[in-house]
Amino acid sequence: MVRVMVVDDHPIWRESVARELGERGVDVVATAADGAAAVRIAPAVRPDVVLMDLQLPELSGAEATARVREALPDTRVLVLSASAEQGDVMAAVRAGASGYLVKSAGLDELVDAITRTASGHAVFSPGLAGLVLGEYRRLENAGPDEPRLTPRETEVLRLVAKGLTARAIAERLVLSHRTVENHVQNSLRKLQLTNRVELTRYAIERGLDADD
């Protein structure tokens, strides 16, 4: 059974998602109402997946993601946000989140995303693919040491952004489903910053450090 921690400052939402996930056989081991609490509680309950809102009091979702991932490298973070600023989503992804869903996603979609996240897959929406493509474009101009996408990864991400499913992409590019998944995952992994120093530099560079 997948062990999940729900982090959201909106009490109705938090309780309702926790209950619904419980009914679907997901083990909700903890809930937290702010980023600092999430960082404090996570090591005690060691969840497989943290369901993380982005606009949180005390500590932003991106910062909490970085700290949780630092303390618990095996715990994955799935961002679930109502109206996140795109800069915040990108910051969370670079901090180590392995996927992003909007809150209007259906329960089936959410449970599926949690399951996939727990087994190490990236949860990619077209919107996230667009953000990731944009981020690599930005890095192209930032310097020679920044990560790059391979042409194949770019091709796959563009198709994800245009709404094709992994199966449709595999069909169109004559690849195996597995290879498509790998390309998507690699594109995300290369973006993720490996330590707090890099993260802080990224946040300051992007003007995201003044998070309240």
């Binding site: 109206s83 919107g127 667009g130 953000l131 952004a161 245009k162």
Partner: protein, 384 residues
């Protein structure tokens, strides 16, 4: 007179608030100048041809100074300044009746003394440097008509009046402009703050509840009204989310963010994949692209069916911007577009192609029966 007119007449002139310190200065000047005129009356009044008339004129100046000063302080309107110019000119001209021609010829002062400069400054404040110039010329004209001789005093007065009118007028223009700018900037800032506050409120409350309604309702299988409610809540949630995240981002030099413009132009069900940074293009280019995308989206809804998915991807490279539009509808059978063009129906494809060509860009269409349609539009960044 309508009530609106009445309100406008009673209200302050445009930009009056920014000029209040200058109007106060003018009122102080007029009162001090009035004292000078009274002193003039006391010292030379005995020798006047018509002392009684002189006293009446100075009394009228006192009354007029009080009346007009109140209006200047509260409204600062041009009408009062023009009436002031007429009244002051008449008072100055009355010197011809009050004084003896002999003393005037000797260079005796006019009855209004320096008080006669008041309307020049008032016109400059109310109408800017042009008002100051006109007021100065009229006042100098009246002085010349009374004195009938160009002596050193008149030349000196002329210089003072024209310089004062122009300088005060320019100062008033500058203050009015910078005051307006300050007001606009403050209003913009207030609007932005209000928008951010609204976004936060919507995010914290309405959006969460709508998302919840959609989720819970959709689970009640077989309950048609609940499912319908859930669908409506979901639509509103998507529209609202887009609204609060699509604050138009104006860039430098008349550029606009393409992403936020498309967020407003496309139907809420469309998925929009964009970079985190604003995609800045000239406003006219953004307008055209939004129009092309709207056409494409409307076409997709008409042919692919209202339930077909719609995805838009915006990519920003250094020298060009690419926008892709895909639907998963029935697609267009090979050759159908050429057929239509041959029959003289330029239709949507023709119109989209024309607009993109006008932008110096390229547009390609990938489609086929059962494959949906996929447009890819690339426009160059000029000057880069």
């Amino acid at each position: 007179m309508t009530s609106v007119d009445g309100a406008r007449r009673g209200g302050p002139a445009r930009g009056h608030a920014h000029l209040v310190p200058l109007w106060r200065g003018l009122v102080v000047y007029r009162v001090v100048a009035l004292v000078a005129a009274i002193v003039n009356l006391v010292r030379f009044g005995d020798g006047w041809a018509r002392p009684t008339l002189g006293v009446l004129v100075v009394a009228a100046m006192v009354v007029w100074t009080a009346m007009s000063s109140l209006r200047y302080l509260h409204r600062g309107d041009a009408r009062t300044a023009v009436v002031d110019l007429v009244v002051t000119s008449l008072a100055t001209a009355s010197t011809l009746l009050v004084e003896t021609p002999a003393r005037l010829a000797e260079g005796g002062p006019v009855i209004t003394t320096v008080w006669s400069a008041g309307p020049v400054l008032a016109l400059a404040l109310a109408l800017g440097w042009r008002g100051g110039l006109v007021g100065g010329v009229v006042t100098v004209g009246v002085l010349f008509a009374v004195r009938r001789a160009v002596d050193a005093d008149l030349v000196f007065d002329t210089q003072l009046l024209l310089v004062a009118g122009l300088a005060v007028g320019l100062a008033a223009d500058t203050m009015r402009r910078s005051g307006e700018r300050l007001r606009e900037a403050t209003a913009r800032e207030a609007a932005t703050a209000e928008r951010e506050r609204l976004s936060r409120d919507i995010h914290d409350g309405v959006l969460q509840v709508l998302a919840l309604v959609r989720r819970r309702g959709a689970e009640l299988d077989g309950d048609a009204p609940a499912v319908e409610l859930a669908r409506l809540a979901g639509e509103q949630e998507a529209a609202l989310r887009r609204l609060i995240t699509s604050a138009p981002v104006p860039g430098p030099d008349g550029t606009v963010d393409l992403s936020s413009r498309l967020a407003g132009a496309l139907p809420p069900r469309a998925s929009l994949a964009v970079p985190a940074e604003p995609v800045l293009l000239p406003a006219a280019v953004v307008d055209e692209l939004a129009a092309v995308l709207r056409e494409g989206a409307a076409n997709a809804a008409a042919h692919a069916g209202p339930d077909a998915g719609l995805w838009v991807l915006v990519e920003d490279a250094a020298d060009e911007v690419t926008v892709s539009l895909r639907d998963d509808g029935v697609g267009i059978p090979a050759g159908r577009l050429d057929e239509a063009a041959a029959e003289g129906h330029l239709g949507v494809a023709g119109s989209m192609r024309g607009r993109v060509a006008d932008l110096g860009g390229t547009i390609t269409l990938h489609t086929g029966a059962g494959q949906g349609t996929e447009w890819e539009i690339t426009v160059p960044r000029r000057g880069s």
